[in-house]
Amino acid sequence: MKWFDYAAPGSLTEAFELLARHPGARPLAGGTDLLVQMRAGERQADLLVDVKRIPELNELGCDASGTLRLGAAVPCCVISESELVRRRWPALAEVAAMIGGVPIQSRASLGGNLCNAAPSADGPPVLMVLRAICRVAGPSGERRLPVEEFCIGPGKTVLAPGELLVGFEIPPPEPASGACYLRFTPRAEMDIAVAGAAAAVRVEGEAIGWARLALSAVAPTPLLVREAGEYLAGKPATEDAIRAAAEIARDAARPISDVRGTAEHRRRLVSVLAERALRVAVARAREAQA
């Protein structure tokens, strides 16, 4: 790796100062993407600003309204072990236990997962169906935006130079709702998704109240397929409706062919994974309703 300096600020103010003073600076969270990329010469920085000692980025807890406040740098192992997250947002705990393997999860954060903006990242689709809001801050203040607006291309986000992703706010789960993320990988562990689908559903009696569906690895960015959710809203929660929504997701996917799979294979995977994820989400919603 080329030479870089290192700083571990203890506050947001200090971090913004460092980022403003050094145009060649980059935030470092768990380093499981960044250090690999820097060693491979794919990314450069002359200063790494370690964000793991900033209190706001390490937050994990509920506010008075029951909204989850999750700091951008909280490592996956803490998320998947959190009783609160496991009980209220099990799909989030599950995806945190899916990224990499145990030693990766000791370091990797969902903030880093999103900021790295890989189309194949597993975290973003789950955050999207859970309606997570990103808290972005910079020297001039804070702005908030839905996760689905954060990534704008492979490796590209809406972050302006000098800004940090502070964390996520995830609204409390509604009654009779459930969520699930499924991905296809040739190996069960330690592999990157060829395609993935996250679903969240609320049931109202025999019908679907609302649904959200999001995909990984089949477009230049993680993709929220609004049309699939809109199609399902108000429909009876039947196999036919689920299959039709999965076809909508397949048509929304814009996959490429690469070493992991062909575009055709990925399209096929989307319909299978979306269908299965919706089915699990409906089953979980019914369980919550019972």
Binding site: F4, D5, A8, L28, T32, C77, I104, R107, M190
Partner: protein, 162 residues
């Protein structure tokens, strides 16, 4: 840019340790090249093989993906910290007895992964064992003997707790 070496104060295997490193040096390099703790191995240097795994503040990490400077104020356990003098740790003994060591290159990482696992889950199922070891590549043993060794170690450590 300052381009200054950084002094890092940390605890390694129960002893205070202090070293001077470049910010770009990984914890793996610092352990091996500066502190002379060569039990920790470098395989892939990109997080995929687990040969470099150590335990930092109770968590298993790949030391190739941790900067040496990030060890400031932390507590690190490497393979050198397991045996008591000439007495092997029960996990090390179980690996030997089950033939879970052949060339031995993956072994320090696997043993530390086993330690991290058993510290958290005293009586893991086979699925849990395989999940916890999934970040570790072994070209020699085919993993089954490793799983048996973890089982033996779990049983012995549980017995020792009685």
């Amino acid at each position: 840019m300052r381009r200054a070496m950084v002094r890092v104060q940390t605890t390694v295997n129960g002893q205070p340790a202090e070293f001077l490193c470049e910010p770009r040096q990984s914890l793996l390099e610092c352990l091996r090249d500066i502190l002379g703790l060569t039990g920790t191995k470098e395989g892939c240097n990109d997080g995929n093989c687990g040969a470099c795994a150590v335990i930092m503040d109770g968590r298993l990490v790949n030391s190739c993906l941790v900067l040496g400077v990030e060890a400031e104020g932390r507590t690190i356990l490497t393979i050198e910290g397991l045996a008591r003098g000439s007495e092997l740790h029960p996990i090390q003994r179980a690996f030997l007895e089950q033939g879970a060591v052949q060339c031995g290159f993956c072994t320090p990482g696997l043993i530390l992964a086993t330690k991290a696992l058993l510290d958290r889950i005293a009586d893991p199922s086979e699925a849990e064992i395989r999940r916890w070891l999934a970040n570790h590549l072994c070209r020699c043993t085919g993993y089954d003997k490793v799983v048996r060794a973890v089982r033996q170690a779990a049983a012995e450590l549980k017995e020792a707790c009685r």
